[in-house]
């Protein structure tokens, strides 16, 4: 823990991250953003020729879609919902009084139609389903969004609002598992090219409760999730900076994603944790970008 606090403090001291008073909620400096932008250009260079359709959604999604996704079954502890004041003038008066005396003023807030996006690809599935059957060649999409997960922590690599860049592939089982394997190979190469020490390991999502233990075991037994790990705040417990997920036909069934021949589409996604990758670069090469190895600077800024 000490090491985590000290890396976070060093990032604050260097002005790379900006404290807000809430653990896991930080501002970013221009320099920090420049590293993320450079890494995203590297992603574009590696994945661009695949011809993915780019879509950008804001960090909030339709609550109805969120409910259909089943996120609350698996990760209720991580979800963030958007609530607003929807009362009358009289309610407003009592709200202000409540705030004045330091009582809980949030009790009367009502749920809006918006939920904070938990992963960049969540708004994609219903969007694609609405278009009808997928073309013969399947579907490939490029997404990026700020995502929210309620897990306050002093580990700078575990932020509550962070950016996820994703490629999502839809098609036959063979098509999407090939896509996942291709990105596992590419991911390792990309990280090596910027001087990061990586390992790939089988993984599971942080499902909630004892039932979650079983879902996690199932996920591992079936090799559904892999992570690319890089040491940031601990070498013993390196941080997942990319993940490679095969959903089988779970999302295809849930959202009604069909291939041209009428069969249910299989889906897979590859995600880059952009803040985590930037932090891995700062941790490995130092907080002064100008002092990074020439080879790394050349890959990022050419």
């Amino acid at each position: 823990m000490d090491m985590q606090v000290s890396f976070l403090d060093r990032l604050f001291d260097a002005g790379l991250l900006i404290e807000t008073g809430v653990d896991g909620l930080y501002g970013r400096s221009g320099q920090f953003e420049d590293v993320i932008a450079a890494f995203e250009r590297l992603i574009d260079r590696v994945g661009g020729a695949d011809g993915a359709e780019a879509m950008r959604f804001p960090p909030g999604m339709n609550r109805e879609f969120f409910e259909t996704s089943g996120y609350m079954k698996s990760f209720p502890q991580l979800a963030g919902t958007v609530h607003s004041f929807c009362g009358s003038e009289l309610d407003h008066m009592s709200l202000l009084k409540c705030m004045e005396v330091g009582d809980d003023w949030t009790k009367g807030q009502e749920a809006t139609d918006i939920v904070l996006t938990p992963a960049a690809c969540y708004p994609l599935y219903p969007t694609v389903a609405r278009r009808g059957k997928l073309p013969k060649s399947g579907g490939l999409y490029d997404l990026q969004s700020y995502c929210f997960r309620h897990e306050p922590s002093k580990d700078p690599a575990r932020q509550q609002l962070f950016r996820m860049r994703e490629y999502v592939c839809m098609g036959t089982e063979q098509h999407v598992t090939d896509f996942r394997q291709r990105w596992m190979d590419r991911g390792v190469e990309m990280m090596k090219s910027v001087g990061l020490d990586v390992a790939i390991d089988i993984a599971n999502d942080p499902f909630f409760g004892r039932a979650g233990k079983m879902l996690a075991n199932n996920q591992r037994d079936q090799n559904l999730k892999f992570e690319l790990l890089i040491p940031i705040t601990s070498t013993a417990k390196p941080t997942a900076c990319m993940s490679f997920n095969y959903h089988q036909d779970a999302f295809g069934t849930k959202w009604g994603l069909y291939l041209e021949d009428g069969s249910t589409a299989h889906t897979a996604c590859v995600g880059f944790g952009l803040e985590r990758i930037a932090l891995a670069l700062f941790h490995t090469h130092g907080l002064d970008v100008k002092a990074w190895p020439e080879s790394v600077r050349a890959v990022l800024w050419g």
Binding site: K73, K213, M214
Partner: protein, 83 residues
């Protein structure tokens, strides 16, 4: 026990086929048992038999067929008696 398991499977398994049509050894995942339904089934079995699945048995293998469930539940009951 077989009957109770079949009743729970019919109630919680959310299967597209009738449980009566399934042989004891039939692959439940192939029959359409989802991960989430298997979790519901696990919780139902715990309540019905007053047991708690240890972490090492919370996996797909334990719920792969009606006989597999029977074996798993018997194993937990035996361990409980011995304790």
């Amino acid at each position: 026990m077989n009957e109770t398991i079949r009743e729970l499977l019919a109630k919680l398994g959310n299967l597209p086929v009738a449980v009566t049509e399934l042989e004891d050894g039939a692959d439940l995942y192939a029959a359409g048992l989802s991960s989430f339904a298997s979790v519901q089934l696990m919780l139902g079995l715990e309540e019905a038999f007053d047991i708690e699945f240890p972490d090492n048995l919370l996996n797909r293998k334990s719920f792969a067929s009606i006989s597999a469930i029977e074996q798993t539940v018997s194993h937990i009951l035996k361990a409980k008696e011995a304790a």
